[in-house]
Symmetry: C2
Subunit: 123 residues, 2 copies
């Protein structure tokens, strides 16, 4: 578990980015600080950080994973038209410990629909 500058940078980018970037985006931002950082390194560190529960992976319908900070608990609204992700302050805190004998460690809510911007454009 070495704390490399690459790993610290990746975590820092995810934590300071409010826009749910994908690996490629994070790679491009990271190159501004470490110009020869490798895309594979970004992927590997994103995977470690998800495993260590420092960041969250959001699986999108387009098949490209996005990554989000876990600084405060929140859910997500995903616009099915423009694919934007919008943070939703946790409204329903259901703290199940157990469902039918299965041990619940966490849960995620994904709201889907049309975002404010796309609704405007439809008019």
């Amino acid at each position: 578990m070495k704390n490399t500058k690459q790993k610290i940078l990746v975590l820092d980018i995810v934590n300071n980015n409010r826009c749910h970037s994908n690996a490629e985006d994070i790679y491009n931002i990271a190159r501004k600080t470490i110009p020869n950082i490798s895309l594979g390194t970004v992927y590997r560190n994103l995977n470690s950080l998800v495993e260590e529960k420092h960041i969250k992976r959001i699986k999108m319908d387009d098949g490209i994973d996005r990554f989000d900070n876990m600084i405060y608990p929140h859910d997500h609204f995903i616009c099915t038209k423009c694919n934007t992700i919008i943070d939703v302050d946790e409204v329903n805190h259901c703290d199940f410990k157990e469902i039918s004998g299965n041990k619940v460690m966490s849960y995620e809510i994904y709201y889907k629909g049309i975002c404010k911007n796309c609704l405007e454009e439809e008019k």
Copy 2:
């Protein structure tokens, strides 16, 4: 919008399968009825059926999509150890129509943890 026998078969397989199969599984089951059905045809029909909201796509961490019927409303528990998906009867029916100006059409809850079987094996 043609109702081909391939599409009807794919829908039928998803609806009669309680185990959240992936495209490859569904392809293998489909071949028992239509031996020369193409894997591409299975993928295309799964995509159409998801778009038409006849079935649901479940995005897994291993990157392989699973498919589920929509006969009755339910959520999912995913075991992070063995990757099994377990149906959860809807416990929290929250019917938001709108969140911060964004129009909510649907929502999904994913519970994550360790399933009954894996808990047993840990002992």
